[in-house]
Symmetry: D2
Subunit: 356 residues, 4 copies
């Protein structure tokens, strides 16, 4: 159910409706829009009786939401969600493309800084890097853990980039929440509902990667899990799905971008690195992702891909990332987007680095 408030409704009226909803045993989600506020009603004890709410002051109408996703839906919020980060111009979901780049895993301070310096210089506003790596084998490198998070916090300090990194369980989420700016939920955890709920209780934005065989509805429902706990800053991420096709590691499903945008107000970015698994496909598919209308890109870059501890095959060389950015910059305006130019703190930074 969805309570649409009148355009001139006061904060007190909104608040009174929310209290009423909570008093009935449901949860109220007040979602301010450009013109009016909508209040989503969630809870798993069946539908609320609309009568009482319709009569309250400031209420325009009470709408039954038939789709399984409610807070995610454009029904509750017509205008796009734009996620902002205090102290920076970087946004996700706004007119500027969100460019998120960095190595698959943080391997050590030198590697992380070497990559950070290059992606920042090329125009990335967000730095990605894994501190907790979900690996198919228990015997593979599992990430540096908190040490990795600390290195990324230093990178934010140095370059001003916001940090995006994955949490794989409640413990790591606690730390990621502390050090990073965006909590990533990986494809393998897209239906780890316990983790999604925990992320929903965080105040940091959450980036959810599409599961390898997730339908559009399941993808949106993962976001609904986070939002149902009160965290409305969710970013979706297409990263390829699993099919019979064997020329790429996964099959990047770009059609999901307009499909998500039609149904939901949430931003969606594309990961062409996992989406293809092959370095030579990353730039063409990045161009395509921007052209299709994605709100951003998340790209793996490594200064020495052949020595990377994970995913080296799909990591771009820094020079290739420069080239990718140059191409993306040309396509963005066609779809009404902008791309930040080079990083603002670029000049002094490089000299302080000791590259391996």
């Amino acid at each position: 159910m969805l309570v649409v408030m009148q355009a001139p409704a006061t904060e007190e009226q909104v608040s009174a409706v929310c209290q009423k909803i909570e008093s009935l045993g449901y949860r109220a989600h007040s979602i301010p829009g450009a013109e009016r506020t909508a209040i989503g009603i969630t809870g798993n004890k069946g539908e609320v009786e609309p009568g009482t709410l319709e009569e309250m002051a400031g209420v325009q109408e009470v709408i039954r939401v038939t789709k399984p996703y409610k807070l995610v839906s454009r029904d509750i919020k017509e205008d796009n969600t734009v996620i902002r980060f205090a102290g920076t111009d970087a946004t996700i979901g706004g007119p500027a493309l969100a460019i998120i780049a960095g190595p698959c895993a943080i391997e050590n301070r030198d590697q992380a800084f070497a990559v950070a310096e290059r992606v920042h210089r090329a125009g990335a506003q967000f730095f990605r890097g894994g501190a907790y790596k979900p690996r198919t084998s228990p015997y593979s490198f599992q990430g540096l853990g908190e040490e990795g998070l600390r290195i990324m916090a230093e990178i934010r300090q140095q370059f001003g980039m916001r940090i995006v990194t994955e949490a794989i369980d409640n413990e790591s989420l606690e730390l990621v929440e502390e050090y990073a700016d965006v909590i990533q939920i990986g494809a393998r955890n897209m239906q780890n509902f316990s983790l999604l709920k925990r992320a929903g209780r965080s105040r940091k934005p959450v980036l959810i990667k599409r599961g390898m065989s997730a339908t559009l509805e399941e993808f949106l429902m993962a976001a609904e899990y986070v939002m149902s706990e009160g965290n409305y800053n969710v970013v979706l991420c297409e990263r390829g799905v699993r099919t019979f096709a064997d020329h790429t590691r996964n099959t990047l499903d770009l059609s999901v971008v307009p499909a998500v945008q039609r149904l939901s107000h949430l931003p969606i970015v594309v990961d062409p690195s996992h989406g293809t698994g092959k370095r030579n496909k990353v730039t063409p598919l990045s161009r395509a992702a921007v052209a299709v209308g994605a709100d951003g890109l998340i790209v793996e870059v490594h200064h020495q891909p052949d020595k990377a501890l994970s995913d080296g095959m799909q990591s771009l060389y820094p020079d290739q990332f420069d080239e990718l950015m140059a191409q993306v910059r040309q396509i963005a305006p066609v779809v009404g987007r902008t791309v930040a130019s080079t990083g603002p703190q670029m000049s002094p930074a490089p000299s302080t680095l000791s590259l391996t």
Copy 2:
């Protein structure tokens, strides 16, 4: 790496080799076989140098395991793993088929007992029922939690059936471990590596359902995660994979049964309920699962499927389960299997039940 001990090696020799391995910073897994003991060496710091170990007393040879799964592999243990349950004849992986049956979710005491009485009477040695339900929607029934576990513990008490139920995170695993006999890891959590490791530190057997798009190798690696933590009682479960085919909810991949059995010593059971999602397909596919050589079945049964809180469409009526058991009983001997007859405590039990 795998250290194969000589047939007459003593416990002291095995123990000395294990200590040596641990002293080198690796983990040693001593796996006794029918004829000789093998010691698996795991750890993510590269390969151990075989020289030192080869010279130790009782060691026959040191073998490099090139497959990514090590403890799971038949290389380390040639004979099938048989999981036994104290105080009962029930096994998983032995000559008797493991029949696991019950409702999708424990809804209340009456429902659970009504179903339990019938599946027990039909010959099930294991009772399944969800106390923690991973649901696509945050607004769907999420299970009774600990209350559900308590009901199942009573069912074990009453009927002697062992309890199989799903844990969805560390907290629920803690409780499942306490109340149940087998910890189920659901398909959506098959690559929730944090949960797999936690299950690996439990002393209860773990049943891992195949992820919706898991390859055979990923499936085996999920088991490897559990085993790498020291819990060697793992059961695999095929429950259908996601494909384009739309006549069933999932596509049940029975070929994975002989494929697993070829590579691994672990038992594998089949879930035709989730594997097809349609009541009328459950019995034919159960017959096929037994014929293909599965070590058991896990079947959803509900006394009132049309009133079930989840998965009613795929739950058998108790009479249909009786029929399924009758058919399976005829096929089992062809593949060298037996099926337990009716439940041993059946006569007095029904009279104490108040069926709804």
Copy 3:
């Protein structure tokens, strides 16, 4: 549309209704059932107006068929279609399982006879062998063509087995029709509608293999194409579909067997050889196919698989086929089926063969 005749309707009445239908510009398909005759009306000029037909003598009712498949449907014919072969006991769709076996391709007379002798002795009533091979590469062995057909005709002469072989275009179909007993349409041609129509104008039964990514509806519609041209002797064949799973060449979808049987009166057989692509999986999946309720098996057997010109990897050795038959013979009765014992002309035949 479907005209259901009254139980005691005369042949003249049926004939009059058919003539009326044809006079309206449609095609009439008279399908005699166990109790009454139904007349299917097909044609692509929209629906016929039921009024006129309802008033005709002997007509019980006129039913609108809303499913896209009409002649294929159980709506038009409730009892199973049983395909019979003059001069032999062999049937497809009857209580006896149809066992179809032979090499992937006919390579030469000696090879074909060597295999034929063995599969006949083991109880196969049908011999399969490719004379026209649809190969992914234009440079691979494409089959012996008419020479292969001639060899198979000799095999029928010698062993009494009926011949099943693939036609890949109109020209080969003409010849297959002349020499063989069942015209096979391969998976790659399942939606070669032109070829299906041509097969529909033949008087020989047609076996249609499921396309690699065919839905159930598309599979049934392929049969409808053949039937719409007047050939009602159609056999469906599950041979595995294409998925992400890589432990078998295709993923054998046994659930399609009960799904077809629910919707259609046509028989369905299973090909575990192409369905798995691995020799060691053929026997377990054959057992499963019989257990699930298939009407027969089509199995590749070669006396020297490692020298086979195609599909050697998935061909059984004759001894393995003997073992398969022994196992299948035990499972068949559980599902109310019989399996023919050893070939009736077996004793004199072998002595005339010069095996390589």
Copy 4:
């Protein structure tokens, strides 16, 4: 095998090598390149002995081609194949994007002309329309046949657009070859090898749509079938593959575009209409297809999509196609492409049309 001639080799030398190859029982394919000529050797009787050829005049080297596709491969022809059409500037594979547009099926003269006028005006150099429609149901509209071809020939006459239309069997191919400029082989016939060979004996270019579950290798091998018969003017077309995803009719796999271009010299175009099956996804995916580097687009346009006899759901309105072209025109230069502006014969043409 591949014979690479020296740069200054004469035509006589090339011809002598070809004769030698043919005399050995193989087929020679002389493929002139920008710098030198290569001669492909095909045939299914095993490898030729390189010695004799290496000694011939003008031969630089003889290379063993280990990939299954030979003539398709960049190994034999480094520079891109550009297909030209006499009497027009239109090309496929050149710097100008090939824009192919028109209705799914030719329904009648008025419909075809109404659509043709609009797509021509918008800049399409190629007109597509089905005269022979492969339909899942035998009772659906199967196309106008030769009458449809005649209408398209008139459209070429009137607007100068080249005609692309599908052949579904040898008979229709004969007629398509006569009337049209490009012979389309549909997705369902991608492995109809008999039809591919027939197309290979035509002198008209052949456009091959990727099969619904075709791997990259199978896709290239379909082209190899056509080329092996001597027709080297082949265009590949990505049109979506079948996966579990249900938000689009098929999953458009744009990564196959750079994958094809890496391995082959053949042009590849993208069909976003079948690739998504939804009108609102066609324009975003067209932008993406151009951005990824495709050599052209094939788009369904209908002046009255809601009245279309087939595929109305995915057909663009003419105004939407104008908008698509406007967007594509802006993206093309980023990837070094041009797009033809409006049709040269546009002004007088419309007045002669009687639009319905």
